[in-house]
Symmetry: C2
Subunit: 397 residues, 2 copies
């Protein structure tokens, strides 16, 4: 049986390159850029008025002039208006592009306008005020977002502003979620006394959809012939299989045998952890990966969060799995030599610390608890007693 | 001019009830429950084997019996098999429902099986071991997720497990994002020297889509007749209008006038903050809300995050806007009497504290910076100098 760290290392060695694809910028949210987004011109592209008021040449003002002839009015989007000499000004609106004949904007609050003239009512202004200078944020050809970045709402907006209609992003692996076990019936069925409804696949599918990955779902019965056929098809059609259930030592757990026959090499089986000890991981000769999680709902969910998502991040080249640490709020004991994934509720205190409040309920296997918690806290196998105030890694979900 | 806190209070007074709707449980992720989800039977619904092995009556073992006749083999999903007396056992698989004639499971590792008999090779077992007892997690009719909770992947799975095919959730308001200004051209256009491309609407739309709200987009030209027509239609067809641009003091800002003519009451205009000072907020006689954000991309984005999203949370009855606090990593000065929304990158230190690292770039208006930051830190107007180590509220985006 291997440790959590060893399992981590083995999984993170099995990275694949799934290539890239072009998507409309509006649909790129959450994807990982495979290209730089570059400014097609300076940002801002012109000297831009940031207030409504009048635009003047500063020199005339510094020579004592306070009354300016209004040469014209220029809205945002209008062709820039010139002044002919320093005694003139332009009435200008926020967002308008300034002509090279003006260099300073005085806001309406500081001028009085009457009879085609603007009188400045303040004595102190500074040259260049209320102007967002051409190229101040970015120069033409500057990178505004880099390959490897995750596309955020701000990056969608940046892509729009530089006219990047399509973005090259990393392709996501094709993922199939497989449940197994004849005790599982459809959600719409009424189970017999000894049956339960399928739920794991929906939990995993929902968790993946939240990060933009649309996975398919398949249920296989406890029948060795059908299992082998279905797994063969799945290994040929998908990049990753996420199985839940069917990997224990039971007589009717046909999956490990079928995987072996289909040239899936087992890289490990069983990890020193609770929940999720029977976790099985292997790779197919043609490249597909098989994460076979134990059927217990909390175990499936935890293994998906703790192992599959970090693998996916690594595949997409995201710099590092974001590591979160939180402070345990109360003493906890766990006496077995296993890494314990404790269900916790996170809370941000007003002093900037992240607290993890355990909600043990009926122990690690209580799926109902997951509704009221938002992270697993990873308590290392080397210790048995964990004290309030100690800091450990947490995996938010 | 009002303070950030006053703006907050005014907005959070204008809550509306948008009713409820039924959605398939698979599509409920991120929605807010308007019903409790209740266990349709005990969870687990039967005494469930948690290991593969043999099931026995503990009394026979405690009387010294170590060899048990195998009466039959029962897989998960099979009808429970009974033993006829204490000398018998059932070979049992993980997930199987135990008959009432057995009360203890001994895993395969602790038995030797040969010739139709199982010999227990350990001397110490405990009654009830390796069984997840019926009703241990939840009893029939217990609430497994409550009205007012946001649907997480775990709650999707819980809904599946109790057969809740449809969930009653709170309706989301219908939101229209309106941009204005003749300086703005289509993303697919090549702007003239004095024009820029529309981007704000895409940023806001992307941010809302991330929380499951699909907003529509509209652009209005700087034409008072068209603006009034479009706003009239929008106020009748949508619950919330999010405008960007067109609310400054300029001659061509027709929007405030049109809103007034259409019976939208201004509740405030201008907030003591940077960016976003010209923020305008009002309500229509028939109930629609108008958030009119300044056109600067950072201002629009900040106001959407700081004011609209908390309003939406309050409307949906989410307990409290989750408040995050972080520790400023370096000294910052901001000399104006305004609340300053500083762009920061958040980082979780290994001691469980959340650090906020400022990325000022070219100041509060630099949109390109948003690609490299992940929160606004709210630095209060009452102070001008903010020291490394001090803690302030942050708004993650």
């Amino acid at each position: 049986m291997i440790t959590v760290e060893q399992a981590d290392r083995i999984i993170l060695t099995e990275l694949r390159d799934y290539g890239t694809e072009l998507v409309p910028f509006e649909e790129a949210l959450g994807r990982v850029l495979a290209q730089n987004i570059v400014a097609d011109r300076d940002l801002p592209p012109f000297n831009r008025a940031t207030m409504d008021g009048i635009a003047i040449g500063f020199e005339a003002f510094s020579n004592g002039l306070r009354t300016f002839e209004i040469e014209g009015t220029q809205a945002a989007g209008d062709t820039p208006l010139d002044i002919q000499n320093g005694t003139e000004c332009i009435e200008i609106m926020t967002g308008a592009a300034l002509s090279s004949t003006v260099d300073t904007v005085i806001r309406y609050e500081d001028v009085e306008i009457a009879g085609g003239k603007a009188v400045v009512t303040v004595n102190s202004i500074s040259k260049g005020q209320n102007i967002h200078l051409k190229g101040k944020d970015k120069k033409q050809d500057d990178v505004v977002a880099s390959a490897g970045q995750k596309v955020t709402p701000a990056i969608v907006g940046l892509a729009a502003s530089v006219g990047a209609l399509e973005l090259l992003v990393k392709k996501l692996p094709k993922v199939l979620i497989i449940s197994s076990g004849d005790e599982l019936v459809d959600v719409s069925d009424t189970p017999a006394d000894y049956q339960i409804r399928r739920s794991n696949s929906y939990t995993v599918k929902a968790a993946l959809s939240r990060i933009g990955l649309q996975a398919d779902i398949l249920h296989v019965p406890d029948n060795p012939v059908i299992i082998k056929q279905q797994l063969l098809y799945s290994l040929q059609s998908y990049d990753v299989l996420l199985l839940s259930g069917g990997v224990s030592m039971g007589k009717f757990d046909y999956i490990p045998k079928a995987l072996a026959e289909l040239e899936v090499t087992q890289l490990f089986h069983k990890v020193q952890q609770r929940p999720g000890k029977p976790f099985w991981f292997g790779t197919h000769a043609d490249g597909a990966l098989v994460f076979a999680f134990p059927g217990n709902p909390v175990a499936t969910f935890m293994c998906m969060r703790r192992y599959f998502l970090p693998w996916l991040n690594a595949v997409l080249g995201l710099p590092n799995v974001k590591s979160f640490y939180a402070i345990l709020s109360q003493d906890i004991s766990f006496l077995q030599p296993l890494t314990y994934f404790l269900q916790v509720k996170l809370s941000f205190s007003e002093d900037g610390r992240m607290l993890a409040i355990p909600l043990e309920g009926n122990g690690s296997g209580d799926f109902a608890n997951l509704a009221d918690t938002d992270a697993f806290m990873e308590l290392p196998a080397e210790k048995n007693n964990f004290k309030a105030g100690e800091v450990f890694r947490v995996w938010q979900f």
